[in-house]
Symmetry: C2
Subunit: 423 residues, 2 copies
Amino acid sequence: MTATTPDHGVEAAVHQVAGRARAAATELALATRARKDAALHAMADALVGAGPEVLAANAEDVAAAEAAGTATAIVDRLRLDVSRVAAMAEGLRDVAGLPDPVGEVVRGSTLANGLELRQVRVPFGVIGIIYEARPNVTADAAGICLKAGNAVLLRGSSSALRSNTAIVGVLRRAARDSGLPEDVVQLVPGEGHEPAKALMRARGLVDVLIPRGGAGLIRSVVEESTVPVIETGVGNCHVYVDAEADLEQAVAIVLNAKTQRTSVCNAAESLLVHRDVADEFLPRVVSALQEAGVTVHGDETFAACDGVVPATDEDYGREYLSLDISAAVVPDLGAAVEHIRRYSSGHSDAIVTRSQPAARRFVAAVDSAAVLVNASTRFTDGGEFGFGAEIGISTQKLHARGPMGLPEMTSTKYVVTGDGHVR
Amino acid sequence: MTATTPDHGVEAAVHQVAGRARAAATELALATRARKDAALHAMADALVGAGPEVLAANAEDVAAAEAAGTATAIVDRLRLDVSRVAAMAEGLRDVAGLPDPVGEVVRGSTLANGLELRQVRVPFGVIGIIYEARPNVTADAAGICLKAGNAVLLRGSSSALRSNTAIVGVLRRAARDSGLPEDVVQLVPGEGHEPAKALMRARGLVDVLIPRGGAGLIRSVVEESTVPVIETGVGNCHVYVDAEADLEQAVAIVLNAKTQRTSVCNAAESLLVHRDVADEFLPRVVSALQEAGVTVHGDETFAACDGVVPATDEDYGREYLSLDISAAVVPDLGAAVEHIRRYSSGHSDAIVTRSQPAARRFVAAVDSAAVLVNASTRFTDGGEFGFGAEIGISTQKLHARGPMGLPEMTSTKYVVTGDGHVR
């Protein structure tokens, strides 16, 4: 393959890093937990030690973003400080403290003919991660991939390139110093969109691709990739307040799900209310939301409340990620389920009810990664679920669904042991 | 969407069957095991009852295939008889007898804050299966999908269209008569390649696509599909005979793996022999293989044996599916692993050895769906593994790897139950 066109050059460069990742993964797959944990601690120490170097690189990224007129919210995500670097290091140490998923026997039996069958967790091999502005993802993703025995190819946004280069440089040196191949962590080189596209097409070289970021990024990876993808994170999450809801609980759950943090995928974006409680509940929830600064985009019934903006059909499909919520009154639980089936992104949907049959029916009928009963959608989170580390929240049904921890970053193999067995 | 071009017409037709499948899946997901098993038994009875109708349709397919000069092996796959129809019915009854994967609690715990967390198996929803000549796949796939709560869209080959239409007609009537929606089983309509392509692009309408057939079919589905795919079945399987092998066992295993059935993905296609035992083992294995009618495509050392054909690099990458095997002598176990890493399709690879350290090293280093020790590669099979039913053998690392039974035909959801919990 000669690099006659820019495209081929980019592809060759991506294949080259993928080849190095494969070689590193082959060695890493055989590394003991002790070796991997030692490397994670070395990486954490190195990050803290190299804090000034990382912060200086980050300051350049931030200055360039500000000079380019980037939105404040995005610059904030990009910005690192001493405590964020310390948090990255702490994250790596936390991952070191988690059990090693590799080698776990998922199932096993002795067959009638005496063959011993075991299904054992093994690393995927090479994982590609395509992500947006937050440079802390660089360390988090590298740590989780490494612990699960995978080499990682990181493709961050160009706005964070200096930060990511500094962080990856530190992690690679620490890996090498602790006796692992430095190519367990690599940045995918090159400018523009082509390197990410080459990564998406590197089937056979990259085992799994995980996009982390906004809906547009995720859609483009899902549609263009020939490498198997785990789709993450778009959340149009619903809270349904049933006829038999405890309305005080319902107000608290809606408020928490919408406002505790608005920019995250498990925040509520849509409120459905059973018509039997609408008269009593709507004024209470609308005023509570408005007091918290939320704009309610409501159907006709909601629009009768002061300050409610009429909702369009588009509103019900939106992931606002802001102080906005769509809202509608439904005639019954079945209509709520229908609405959710139509508009939900399949992330997290909650029911508030004191009725056991209603809860049972909602849980069975709503086809989402997480279905919550009398709890805020904000609980759909690897940390909250006790996974210790999270690489993202899968909204697809294949392989992993919901928050993904270390076990989700592995595949399995069957080991079959006999004594000269033939069929 | 108006059907202005043939393509749009095909797409609209595929979207229409997918929409009906979704509606059926929504109902099926809530069906109890008892209802599903009753439908499977009804389908089995109906198939036996409609045997003459199915065989008449099949006879037309066979006659057309023969008139078109189709290869005998393919016509044989296409051909049904009374015992094959009975076997299809028996397969459906077997699936009815298996435990229901839906509702299985995969993990569960109570979190520190009292939230109850359960990860529960749920159906995928709509599964698409694209397959080649064997009409028995039609009933097998429908039965497995139904038991796991999924509606299935079947796209068989045009050569089996009359047979598949007859079988699906019988299954649909039986489903309806037993109270399930008939659209739990549908054929994807239309001629040529476009309907399969529309199925591959029906992301959001179809949850998973499983290609079953030859390497060409599988490659095209994997490359063109935007629907998540489970790659199945291409098997370039190796047997490595170690320096410490029991050579009598080794001959038996090689012979069984190569010749017990040649047209299947778990048949051995390549033989590697440690050089320390080459002098003693090569003449024995070559003559045993040749007596069984196998052509050995060997490296220089093998080529010294009478009748061995010199192997090209291409031979080592081939899935012959015939009485042919590639063969090479390797200097050590590490070289065997290297060779397998380079040429294996990641299906099933075996070592024959009496050395525990060699077995351990081979199992750890060979990155395939199944790694066998002192056993024939032919054992990589859902039936042999005791799964009771098999939809195919996954050679990808995402979601399922190796033989796939009922649990692999499901996804999971998290159910989180609280008492007004907020963060």
